[in-house]
């Protein structure tokens, strides 16, 4: 087609101002990234390390869920199933083959492969149906997987799950850099041992996976996913095979969730239904992605941090609040740590009220030309 005469052409390279809200969100996420990078030195206690490692893995898990629910508009309740497959694959291999990287590699690969096969099957069989039926199918699949995990207790440890040892390289007894006495040297007061190596293994793997997902959403595929979410019928009409695209992103999401499961299993040295497969985790994922902001990727980071910190530290905060107000009537009772779930609920309601599009979503929309 030839060009129609343009009266007032604008160059294609016209620079656009990045809205302040967007910059602010990027700044928060970068700050979180920096804290996570130096977490072992900033917060050397064991509990804080657990929180930091959990945040890393969950950022990957929630971001991969955002690919489905936020970018493509696929509502799935099977995300923890894929997470669990990765974790159980690794756990069973470590338990049967003994602690070694070969076990992690083999078990992890099998878990990822199983996730991929299941995702292809669920995707091809059911992504043609309406969203609500698809959600039901994933719910059914996830329930079946939970039943299987508890029934095959000889392999999975049933409801109790299983503990195992991880490669010696990652154990606190492993000295990475020894001083003249053969003990691990201390960097800023932190022993350079296997535990530190394990944290950085988790952190770097999570970082790579998160960056890969950022690349996916910025790729041509990412735009097609958004188009499918916005207007499936038109996406098909301009030449995109919607079912094929949906199935592929469902598979990509499943594989990344399974990879996150491997990280979780290696870090925890324990795998059971309540840390991987359970619907409580699924609900957590949903809350994190909603609180952070669907379809933003940045929201995954913010949602996971807020929710995890609340789950781990709200009780402590309330206990100190109750102690500080012990002379005031009623307040200490309200702030009793046993009531932490109540306050968590209040926090969610406030967040959803003030940030209807999620924290990242709402902030990024601010100062945007709308």
């Amino acid at each position: 087609m030839s060009t129609v005469t343009i009266s007032n052409p604008i160059t294609t390279t016209a620079q656009r101002r990045v809205p302040a809200g967007r910059l602010f969100v990027y700044a928060i996420v970068l700050a979180i990234g920096a804290v996570l990078m130096f977490a072992p030195f900033l917060f050397p206690d064991v509990r804080a390390q657990e929180v930091a490692a959990r945040i890393c893995v969950f950022i990957v898990l929630v971001a991969s869920y955002d690919l489905l629910i936020g970018y493509t508009g696929i509502v799935s309740f099977a995300h923890t199933m894929f997470f669990g497959l990765g974790a159980y694959g690794t756990a069973i291999a470590l338990k049967t083959m003994g602690p070694g990287f070969d076990a992690i590699l083999l078990g992890g690969s099998l878990g990822v492969l199983a996730s991929l096969v299941l995702a292809v099957l669920i995707g091809l069989l059911s992504l043609r149906v309406k969203a609500i039926f698809f959600a039901m199918i994933t719910l059914a699949a996830a329930s079946v997987m939970m039943v299987l995990a508890s029934q095959f207790f000889e392999y999975t440890g049933g409801e109790d799950g299983m503990t195992y040892t991880i490669p010696r390289f990652f154990s606190p007894a492993n000295t990475l850099i020894a001083d003249e006495n053969g003990k691990a040297i201390r960097i800023f007061g932190v022993a350079a041992n296997g535990r530190l190596a394990l944290y950085y293994f988790i952190f770097l793997s999570s970082l790579v996976l998160f960056l890969a997902m950022l690349r996916i959403v910025a790729s041509p595929l990412g735009t097609v996913l958004e188009a499918i979410r916005e207007n499936e019928m038109r996406a098909e009409a301009i030449g995109y095979r919607v079912v094929a695209y949906r199935t592929s992103i469902f598979c990509i999401g499943a594989v990344i969730a399974a990879l996150a499961g491997i990280l979780r299993a290696v870090w925890l040295r324990y795998t059971g239904p309540d840390v991987t497969l359970s619907f409580d985790i699924m609900i957590d994922l949903l809350l994190m992605v909603v609180i952070g902001g669907m379809g933003t990727m940045m929201g995954a980071v913010i949602g996971v941090v807020i929710m995890t910190l609340a789950q781990f530290y709200l009780k402590d905060l309330m206990a100190s609040g109750a102690a500080a107000t012990s002379n005031v009537p009623l307040l200490p009772d309200l702030l009793n740590p046993d009531r932490w779930l109540l306050w968590l609920g209040v926090l969610f309601i406030l967040l959803v009220y003030f940030f209807p599009a999620g924290i990242a979503g709402t902030l990024m929309g601010k100062g945007d030309h709308k």
Binding site: M1, S2, T3, V4, I6, N8, P9, I10, T12, R16, R215, I216, A218, S219, P220, L221, G222, T223, V224, E226, A227, E230, N231, M233, R234, A235, E236, A237, I238, G239, Y240, R241, V242, Y245, S248, I252, H369, K370
Partner: protein
């Protein structure tokens, strides 16, 4: 004339007992602009939906050139070169104007499945998308979400999406509906421009008689789902049956 570029053979679709399109057989040729007219409910949009694949025919077949496309999905038909703009605006509301158009360019280029390229860095596709944004005079709003545009601009974007698909068959469904007097010429100019390329086939559903007169090489009249007249504009408009349907012919508006 040369062989047909798009042809329907006894095309019929029934909803329950009602045949919304009944036994429509007609062929269209490259370089020809056909206006499809008919009163509301005549089956014009339904016939469009059958050709572009949003609906599946109960009976009959559709050919693009020699290829039977009756069983193809809408996306496969789009790839085969059948492009369609919609009567009711049908965009990607939260995406910007440029992203909307870029999606169509990218589909045509077959670049959709790329995961590891950065979409923003694919300048060829971006520049091409910008070309269509300029052609529909939307440059000033290129970075606004489609939902934020006024109605007239949304109609233009609808046409920009079709143009960006670069199809062989252009199907416009009332492209100027609801547009102001000063906006409509942009679209008509664009259609006239496509017409200059003699390899394209243009099908246009349109009510405005001035548009029909200015552009049509041929008029097809649908009534109650059936094709009742087909021929040169002057001949078709002179037919008594067409005059019966369109009382008040000769005034500016029909239907």
């Amino acid at each position: 004339m040369t062989t047909s570029s798009i042809r329907t053979e006894n095309l019929t679709i029934r909803f329950g007992g009602h045949a919304a399109v009944h036994n429509v057989s007609c062929a269209f040729h490259p370089g020809e602009l056909t206006v499809i007219v008919g009163p509301n409910g005549a089956g014009k949009t339904t016939w469009f939906n059958l050709v572009s694949g949003q609906l599946t025919a109960t009976e009959g077949r559709i050919f693009k050139g020699e290829q039977d496309i009756s069983a193809l999905s809408p996306s496969a038909r789009a790839k085969a070169g059948i492009g369609r703009a919609f009567q009711l605006t049908n965009l990607f509301p939260k995406l910007t104007v440029l992203e909307n158009v870029r999606l169509a360019v990218q589909a045509k280029a077959g670049q959709g499945p790329h995961i590891f390229k950065r979409a923003a860095a694919m300048t060829e596709i971006r520049d091409k998308a910008f070309h269509f944004v300029e052609a529909t005079r939307l440059s000033a709003v290129a970075h606004l979400p489609a939902a934020a545009l006024p109605h007239g601009d949304q109609r233009k974007l609808e046409v920009a999406l079709l143009a960006a698909m670069e199809p062989d068959i252009f199907m416009f469904d009332e492209p100027t509906a609801g547009m102001s007097v000063d906006e409509a010429p942009v679209i008509l100019e664009l259609i006239a421009d496509i017409k200059k390329d003699r390899s394209k086939t243009i099908l246009l559903v349109e009510h405005k008689m001035d548009v029909v007169r200015a552009l049509a090489d041929r008029i097809v009249v649908l009534h109650n789902g059936e094709l009742i007249a087909d021929g040169k504009p002057t001949e078709v408009m002179a037919l008594p049956i067409v005059r019966d349907i369109y009382l008040g012919i000769g005034t500016e508006e029909v239907a």
